[in-house]
Symmetry: C2
């Protein structure tokens, strides 16, 4: 029950205004989280979305992304996952996510 509620509550949040979305994406740590989520094309365990920061810092960054409507949190079998809100973002700012992820992949040579 808890997991279903978690998924529902975050999924229904609106995507934020454009400045907040860009503000969420412009931080290098968050940009990398979004890049990995986009490339995965599926929900990803939190710990697979960052490398050199600690968990509380990661939680802070997830919160900013979530509040901007960029990602949502899912609980599956007691594990927390993050999911990129691809469709909601595409409706809110068409073309932004592909452009950002494309350039981010380019920058890391992927």
């Amino acid at each position: 029950m808890t997991s279903a509620n978690d998924a529902l509550s975050t999924a229904s949040a609106p995507v934020a205004e454009l400045p907040a979305v860009l503000g969420a994406l412009h931080d290098p740590v968050r940009l990398e989280m979004v890049r990995r989520l986009s490339n995965a094309g599926a929900p990803v365990r939190c710990s697979a979305l960052y490398d050199v920061i600690n968990k509380s810092t990661a939680t802070h960054h997830f919160k900013i992304l979530r509040e901007a409507g960029v990602i949502e949190r899912l609980t599956i079998d007691g594990q927390t996952y993050q999911r990129l809100r691809v469709d909601a973002l595409e409706r809110a700012v068409p073309g932004l996510l592909p452009a950002v992820v494309g350039a981010a992949n380019e920058a890391v040579g992927e």
Copy 2:
């Protein structure tokens, strides 16, 4: 001579890394400057690119946009203009500018 040198020096600056470009765009004042420049499709007098801020604040925002490689400064007949670096941005982050300007226009009902 001065105007030609100004144009040349700013035009040759590289577009910054993606986080810096997104950081330059995420501020509402700078986003509006970019939106107006994009819609104008031509260099625009500085004073036509903002409304409620003072000149020194505007200068600060222009500097951030310029250092990110988003705009360049031109001097024409002793007047200062800003120009959006559309082609350089499109090469650096394909699709970003149309996506951002499109959503920004949408947000203000244009």
